[in-house]
Amino acid sequence: MKDPYETLGLQKTATDAQIKAAFKKLARKYHPDLRPDDKTAVARFKEISAANDLLKDPDTRRRFDAGEIDASGAEQRPERPQQPFYRDFADGPGHAAQDGFADAATMEEFLARAFGGQRGSARDGMRARGQDVSYALPVAFLDAATGAARTITLQDGKTLQVTIPEGAEDRQMLRLKGQGMPGYGGGPPGDAYVELHIEPHAFFQRKDDNIHVDIPVTLREAVLGARIDVPTVSGTVAMTIPKGSNTGTVLRLRDRGLRNRKTALRGHQFITLRVVLPAADEPALAAFLEGWTPKHPDTPRKEMLT
């Protein structure tokens, strides 16, 4: 049993008023009904009350000071029957069980997980991996074709470095390990998943590892053949249009497609020619056609007309 003066934080010479003030201050701090979460409050409050009971009575205080009774003697006096505290009814486990609630430990565990360590330290059972998070990232067609590094800024100000692999596919999911929500109770963080949404391109189209593109050519280039510049996903390339090419003629640029992620081989670029007539009036061309008799007359609609 602790010395009652020590319990109340008083000198032996304390006045009655000082005893009363000290008890009031400590009772305000440790009354169990005012601290429903504090398991030590009942014991502390009993100790404070016992010390107060002993010291507030001048007779017992004198006998204690004279060494006639010890500190625990005060406790044995029948003056203060131990009554239950109000929280034992308003907040006790019995109350919880009656309503079909889980025990108090369930609540404490939940609160500790939900609101951090404020209500007791995390236990092993509450360790949990953080939540995974997912984001959708719009990616330009050419960035996906050639690969790119991007930094995305999340709503909470955190940034994520995302490496878009060469030849990335639409709806491809990238996993960024440990970049999700933080873990609980010392558990590891979750992962971030980034889904790539590849935007369409103005003229390139992708089919598997191959790129398809329509290339307009002039009448002269188609009839006479030509060397022209064409765009590819990895830059401009010069290619030869063979003499007598036509709308619908498909040419292949070997290894100018996308690199396959598994085989590391590149696909091809397929070019579909589209012959365009001169946009402006060309009297000389018209005059030529007026006087032109084809050597092999074409009947292009023959199969459509019966």
Partner: protein, 110 residues
């Protein structure tokens, strides 16, 4: 059940006029049966709390209902929180984690 006379006799410092006033203000609600005022065990504990608040902590009589009301709200909220915790605890682990994760952004940064 404890009769009012017995309660007054066993509760240190409790004054009869204070107890009557607290009953009148519905700070404690004993049952009236056959002309007797009867206190349940929780009622007695509540009277003990009122005594501590009024006599030890020297809370003014006018202020006492405010303090008691706040304490009652605290325990009511705790009961609701416990019910919520029990409901969460009965869910699958993945659901529990999601609920807890949804709560995390609302707490102060740690």
């Amino acid at each position: 059940m404890i009769r009012m006379d017995d309660l007054l006799a066993t509760t240190t410092d409790l004054r009869p006029d204070d107890l009557s006033r607290w009953i009148g203000a519905a700070l404690v609600t004993p049952q009236a049966q056959a002309g007797e005022t009867l206190f349940t065990e929780p009622d007695c504990a509540r009277v003990q709390l009122l005594c501590t608040l009024r006599y030890t902590l020297e809370i003014e009589e006018d202020t006492l209902p405010v303090v008691v009301s706040l304490i009652d709200q605290l325990y009511a909220t705790r009961a609701q929180l416990r019910a919520l915790a029990a409901a969460v605890a009965s869910q699958d682990a993945s659901v529990q984690i999601e609920i807890v994760a949804a709560l995390v952004p609302h707490t102060a940064t740690r």
